[in-house]
Symmetry: none
Subunit: 159 residues, 2 copies
Protein backbone atom coordinates (compact mmCIF):
# COMPACT_ATOMS: atom_id res chain seq x y z
CA UNK A 1 0.00 0.00 0.00
CA UNK A 2 2.22 2.73 1.19
CA UNK A 3 5.48 3.22 -0.48
CA UNK A 4 7.20 4.89 2.33
CA UNK A 5 8.16 1.64 3.86
CA UNK A 6 11.74 2.25 4.53
CA UNK A 7 11.99 -1.40 5.41
CA UNK A 8 15.56 -1.62 6.39
CA UNK A 9 15.26 -3.49 9.57
CA UNK A 10 17.90 -5.92 10.48
CA UNK A 11 17.21 -8.39 7.83
CA UNK A 12 18.62 -11.41 9.46
CA UNK A 13 18.12 -13.37 6.35
CA UNK A 14 19.58 -16.75 5.89
CA UNK A 15 23.18 -15.95 5.85
CA UNK A 16 24.36 -18.99 4.05
CA UNK A 17 25.49 -21.60 6.39
CA UNK A 18 23.65 -23.08 9.22
CA UNK A 19 20.21 -21.74 9.65
CA UNK A 20 20.22 -23.17 13.07
CA UNK A 21 17.17 -21.30 13.97
CA UNK A 22 19.38 -18.36 14.53
CA UNK A 23 16.64 -15.89 14.20
CA UNK A 24 18.67 -12.79 14.45
CA UNK A 25 15.45 -10.96 14.20
CA UNK A 26 14.52 -9.25 17.38
CA UNK A 27 15.08 -9.99 20.95
CA UNK A 28 12.69 -12.45 22.40
CA UNK A 29 12.74 -12.13 26.15
CA UNK A 30 12.38 -15.20 28.27
CA UNK A 31 9.66 -15.51 30.82
CA UNK A 32 12.12 -14.89 33.59
CA UNK A 33 13.48 -11.79 31.98
CA UNK A 34 10.04 -10.39 31.50
CA UNK A 35 9.23 -11.27 35.04
CA UNK A 36 12.15 -9.35 36.42
CA UNK A 37 11.61 -6.39 34.20
CA UNK A 38 7.98 -6.26 35.10
CA UNK A 39 8.83 -6.42 38.74
CA UNK A 40 11.23 -3.57 38.42
CA UNK A 41 8.66 -1.61 36.57
CA UNK A 42 6.05 -2.30 39.13
CA UNK A 43 8.46 -1.29 41.79
CA UNK A 44 8.42 2.08 40.21
CA UNK A 45 11.39 2.06 37.96
CA UNK A 46 10.45 3.88 34.85
CA UNK A 47 13.48 5.33 33.22
CA UNK A 48 16.64 3.55 34.29
CA UNK A 49 19.85 5.37 33.73
CA UNK A 50 22.49 4.04 31.47
CA UNK A 51 24.28 2.48 34.37
CA UNK A 52 21.18 0.81 35.59
CA UNK A 53 20.36 -0.43 32.18
CA UNK A 54 23.70 -2.09 31.88
CA UNK A 55 23.46 -3.69 35.25
CA UNK A 56 20.02 -4.96 34.57
CA UNK A 57 21.14 -6.26 31.25
CA UNK A 58 24.10 -7.97 32.77
CA UNK A 59 21.93 -9.71 35.29
CA UNK A 60 19.29 -10.71 32.86
CA UNK A 61 21.84 -12.19 30.55
CA UNK A 62 21.82 -15.08 32.91
CA UNK A 63 18.49 -16.12 31.54
CA UNK A 64 19.41 -15.71 27.97
CA UNK A 65 20.81 -13.47 25.36
CA UNK A 66 20.11 -9.86 25.93
CA UNK A 67 21.64 -6.52 25.23
CA UNK A 68 21.50 -3.18 26.90
CA UNK A 69 19.40 -1.70 24.22
CA UNK A 70 16.80 -4.37 24.79
CA UNK A 71 16.39 -3.24 28.35
CA UNK A 72 16.38 0.32 27.23
CA UNK A 73 13.64 -0.27 24.72
CA UNK A 74 11.68 -2.40 27.07
CA UNK A 75 11.32 0.35 29.63
CA UNK A 76 10.81 2.93 27.01
CA UNK A 77 7.98 0.99 25.50
CA UNK A 78 6.36 0.04 28.72
CA UNK A 79 6.26 3.50 30.03
CA UNK A 80 5.02 4.86 26.77
CA UNK A 81 2.28 2.31 26.51
CA UNK A 82 1.27 2.82 30.02
CA UNK A 83 0.76 6.44 29.30
CA UNK A 84 -0.91 5.65 26.05
CA UNK A 85 -3.48 3.56 27.77
CA UNK A 86 -4.05 6.01 30.50
CA UNK A 87 -4.48 8.68 27.96
CA UNK A 88 -6.95 6.68 26.03
CA UNK A 89 -8.97 6.09 29.10
CA UNK A 90 -9.06 9.76 29.74
CA UNK A 91 -10.14 10.51 26.25
CA UNK A 92 -12.52 7.66 26.23
CA UNK A 93 -14.01 9.01 29.37
CA UNK A 94 -15.72 12.30 28.80
CA UNK A 95 -16.35 14.56 31.71
CA UNK A 96 -19.52 12.70 32.22
CA UNK A 97 -18.90 9.56 34.12
CA UNK A 98 -17.47 10.62 37.37
CA UNK A 99 -15.62 7.53 38.28
CA UNK A 100 -15.08 4.28 36.60
CA UNK A 101 -13.47 1.10 37.68
CA UNK A 102 -11.13 1.39 34.81
CA UNK A 103 -8.81 3.52 36.79
CA UNK A 104 -7.98 0.81 39.22
CA UNK A 105 -4.32 0.02 38.96
CA UNK A 106 -3.42 3.26 37.45
CA UNK A 107 -3.49 4.73 40.86
CA UNK A 108 -1.26 2.02 42.14
CA UNK A 109 1.31 2.86 39.61
CA UNK A 110 1.25 6.49 40.39
CA UNK A 111 1.89 5.55 43.92
CA UNK A 112 4.76 3.25 43.20
CA UNK A 113 6.21 5.76 40.87
CA UNK A 114 7.00 8.01 43.67
CA UNK A 115 8.53 5.32 45.77
CA UNK A 116 11.24 4.42 43.37
CA UNK A 117 12.59 7.85 43.08
CA UNK A 118 15.01 7.07 45.80
CA UNK A 119 15.73 3.54 44.82
CA UNK A 120 19.43 3.12 44.97
CA UNK A 121 20.10 -0.04 43.19
CA UNK A 122 18.21 -3.21 42.89
CA UNK A 123 19.95 -6.14 44.50
CA UNK A 124 20.25 -8.18 41.43
CA UNK A 125 22.21 -11.26 42.03
CA UNK A 126 22.56 -14.08 39.61
CA UNK A 127 22.63 -16.65 42.28
CA UNK A 128 19.58 -15.25 43.83
CA UNK A 129 17.66 -15.40 40.65
CA UNK A 130 18.94 -18.79 39.87
CA UNK A 131 17.54 -20.08 43.09
CA UNK A 132 14.14 -18.78 42.44
CA UNK A 133 14.37 -19.83 38.88
CA UNK A 134 11.35 -22.02 38.91
CA UNK A 135 10.19 -21.58 42.40
CA UNK A 136 7.93 -18.77 42.95
CA UNK A 137 9.93 -17.50 45.80
CA UNK A 138 8.91 -13.99 46.38
CA UNK A 139 11.49 -11.66 45.13
CA UNK A 140 13.87 -10.48 47.70
CA UNK A 141 13.56 -6.93 46.83
CA UNK A 142 15.80 -5.04 49.07
CA UNK A 143 15.04 -1.84 47.46
CA UNK A 144 16.58 0.37 50.00
CA UNK A 145 19.44 -1.92 50.86
CA UNK A 146 22.61 -2.61 49.09
CA UNK A 147 24.08 -6.05 49.04
CA UNK A 148 27.69 -5.48 48.54
CA UNK A 149 27.46 -2.68 46.17
CA UNK A 150 28.61 0.65 47.37
CA UNK A 151 26.00 3.28 47.51
CA UNK A 152 25.72 3.94 43.91
CA UNK A 153 24.45 7.25 42.92
CA UNK A 154 21.32 6.68 41.10
CA UNK A 155 19.30 9.74 41.14
CA UNK A 156 16.66 10.44 38.69
CA UNK A 157 16.06 13.95 37.79
CA UNK A 158 13.17 14.23 40.08
CA UNK A 159 12.13 17.77 40.59
Amino acid sequence: MDEYSTGFCIRAGRSGGGGTGTKCGRWNPTTEQVKVLTELFRSGLRTPSTDQIQKISAELSFYGKIESKNVFYWFQNHKARERQKRRRVLVDEPTHHINHHTTKQINEISEAERVIETLQLFPLNSRLFADEFKENTAFTYNVGMEMDQPTLDLRLSFV
Copy 2:
Protein backbone atom coordinates in the same frame (compact mmCIF):
# COMPACT_ATOMS: atom_id res chain seq x y z
CA MET B 1 -9.04 -5.24 22.45
CA ASP B 2 -6.76 -2.62 21.27
CA GLU B 3 -8.14 -0.66 18.48
CA TYR B 4 -5.91 2.29 18.49
CA SER B 5 -7.46 4.76 16.22
CA THR B 6 -5.31 7.70 16.86
CA GLY B 7 -5.58 8.24 13.21
CA PHE B 8 -6.12 11.92 13.16
CA CYS B 9 -3.67 13.93 11.27
CA ILE B 10 -2.87 12.47 7.95
CA ARG B 11 -0.01 10.15 7.85
CA ALA B 12 2.34 12.18 5.81
CA GLY B 13 1.11 11.47 2.40
CA ARG B 14 3.90 13.36 0.85
CA SER B 15 4.53 10.81 -1.77
CA GLY B 16 6.33 13.02 -4.13
CA GLY B 17 3.37 14.50 -5.84
CA GLY B 18 1.33 17.32 -4.47
CA GLY B 19 2.77 17.41 -1.08
CA THR B 20 0.64 20.40 -0.52
CA GLY B 21 -1.47 20.59 2.51
CA THR B 22 0.58 17.99 4.20
CA LYS B 23 1.56 19.94 7.18
CA CYS B 24 0.55 18.01 10.20
CA GLY B 25 2.51 15.30 11.81
CA ARG B 26 6.20 15.13 11.72
CA TRP B 27 8.64 15.14 8.92
CA ASN B 28 8.80 11.84 7.21
CA PRO B 29 11.98 11.74 5.21
CA THR B 30 12.05 9.95 1.92
CA THR B 31 14.56 7.25 1.29
CA GLU B 32 16.46 9.58 -0.94
CA GLN B 33 16.71 12.19 1.73
CA VAL B 34 17.88 9.70 4.27
CA LYS B 35 20.38 8.40 1.90
CA VAL B 36 21.90 11.77 1.26
CA LEU B 37 21.96 12.67 4.90
CA THR B 38 23.57 9.41 5.77
CA GLU B 39 26.11 9.92 3.11
CA LEU B 40 27.00 13.28 4.49
CA PHE B 41 27.27 11.87 7.93
CA ARG B 42 29.49 9.11 6.79
CA SER B 43 31.60 11.66 5.09
CA GLY B 44 32.27 13.08 8.46
CA LEU B 45 29.72 15.81 8.78
CA ARG B 46 28.51 15.86 12.31
CA THR B 47 27.46 19.32 13.26
CA PRO B 48 26.58 21.29 10.17
CA SER B 49 26.62 25.03 10.49
CA THR B 50 23.58 27.08 9.83
CA ASP B 51 24.70 27.66 6.33
CA GLN B 52 25.31 24.04 5.74
CA ILE B 53 21.91 23.20 7.11
CA GLN B 54 20.28 25.70 4.85
CA LYS B 55 21.93 24.35 1.80
CA ILE B 56 21.37 20.77 2.66
CA SER B 57 17.77 21.50 3.29
CA ALA B 58 17.46 23.27 0.00
CA GLU B 59 19.01 20.40 -1.79
CA LEU B 60 16.86 17.83 -0.13
CA SER B 61 13.70 19.76 -0.71
CA PHE B 62 13.75 18.35 -4.17
CA TYR B 63 12.88 14.97 -2.84
CA GLY B 64 10.08 16.16 -0.69
CA LYS B 65 8.97 18.57 1.92
CA ILE B 66 11.65 19.43 4.37
CA GLU B 67 12.70 22.24 6.64
CA SER B 68 15.99 23.32 8.02
CA LYS B 69 15.12 22.22 11.46
CA ASN B 70 14.57 18.73 10.18
CA VAL B 71 18.12 18.61 9.00
CA PHE B 72 19.29 20.07 12.23
CA TYR B 73 17.46 17.48 14.27
CA TRP B 74 18.54 14.71 12.01
CA PHE B 75 22.17 15.38 12.62
CA GLN B 76 21.67 15.90 16.30
CA ASN B 77 19.88 12.62 16.63
CA HIS B 78 22.14 10.68 14.41
CA LYS B 79 25.21 11.81 16.21
CA ALA B 80 23.77 11.23 19.62
CA ARG B 81 22.54 7.80 18.74
CA GLU B 82 25.69 6.79 17.12
CA ARG B 83 27.48 7.65 20.27
CA GLN B 84 24.94 6.03 22.49
CA LYS B 85 25.07 2.91 20.46
CA ARG B 86 28.81 2.77 20.55
CA ARG B 87 28.80 3.23 24.26
CA ARG B 88 26.37 0.44 24.82
CA VAL B 89 28.15 -2.00 22.60
CA LEU B 90 31.34 -1.20 24.36
CA VAL B 91 30.01 -2.24 27.70
CA ASP B 92 27.64 -4.75 26.38
CA GLU B 93 29.93 -6.90 24.40
CA PRO B 94 32.48 -8.46 26.69
CA THR B 95 32.44 -11.71 24.79
CA HIS B 96 34.44 -10.13 22.07
CA HIS B 97 38.02 -9.21 22.30
CA ILE B 98 37.91 -5.58 21.77
CA ASN B 99 41.38 -4.65 20.85
CA HIS B 100 42.09 -1.14 19.91
CA HIS B 101 39.79 -1.51 17.05
CA THR B 102 37.02 0.40 18.58
CA THR B 103 39.27 3.20 19.49
CA LYS B 104 40.74 3.18 16.10
CA GLN B 105 37.42 3.70 14.48
CA ILE B 106 36.65 6.53 16.75
CA ASN B 107 39.84 8.20 15.81
CA GLU B 108 39.10 7.79 12.21
CA ILE B 109 35.84 9.47 12.64
CA SER B 110 37.35 12.31 14.54
CA GLU B 111 39.73 12.72 11.73
CA ALA B 112 37.03 12.73 9.16
CA GLU B 113 35.15 15.25 11.17
CA ARG B 114 38.04 17.60 10.92
CA VAL B 115 38.18 17.09 7.24
CA ILE B 116 34.60 17.87 6.68
CA GLU B 117 34.94 20.98 8.67
CA THR B 118 36.25 22.58 5.57
CA LEU B 119 33.99 20.82 3.25
CA GLN B 120 32.81 23.71 1.23
CA LEU B 121 29.55 22.41 0.17
CA PHE B 122 27.53 19.68 -1.22
CA PRO B 123 29.67 17.06 -2.78
CA LEU B 124 26.59 15.33 -3.87
CA ASN B 125 25.57 14.59 -7.30
CA SER B 126 21.84 14.77 -7.42
CA ARG B 127 21.71 13.05 -10.69
CA LEU B 128 23.39 10.11 -9.19
CA PHE B 129 20.71 9.58 -6.65
CA ALA B 130 17.86 10.26 -8.94
CA ASP B 131 19.24 7.89 -11.41
CA GLU B 132 19.33 5.19 -8.89
CA PHE B 133 15.68 5.33 -8.23
CA LYS B 134 13.39 6.60 -10.86
CA GLU B 135 13.82 8.80 -13.81
CA ASN B 136 14.12 12.08 -12.11
CA THR B 137 17.28 12.37 -13.99
CA ALA B 138 17.19 15.72 -15.60
CA PHE B 139 17.92 17.63 -12.54
CA THR B 140 21.07 19.56 -12.43
CA TYR B 141 20.94 22.43 -10.14
CA ASN B 142 23.55 23.72 -7.86
CA VAL B 143 23.12 24.08 -4.25
CA GLY B 144 22.89 27.78 -4.44
CA MET B 145 26.50 28.32 -4.98
CA GLU B 146 28.25 28.99 -8.19
CA MET B 147 27.46 26.66 -10.94
CA ASP B 148 31.04 26.32 -11.81
CA GLN B 149 31.15 23.65 -9.27
CA PRO B 150 31.53 20.46 -11.21
CA THR B 151 29.40 17.67 -9.98
CA LEU B 152 31.56 16.02 -7.48
CA ASP B 153 31.23 12.39 -6.93
CA LEU B 154 31.63 11.51 -3.37
CA ARG B 155 30.40 8.06 -3.79
CA LEU B 156 31.63 5.71 -1.19
CA SER B 157 32.07 2.07 -1.70
CA PHE B 158 29.04 1.62 0.40
CA VAL B 159 25.77 0.90 -1.34
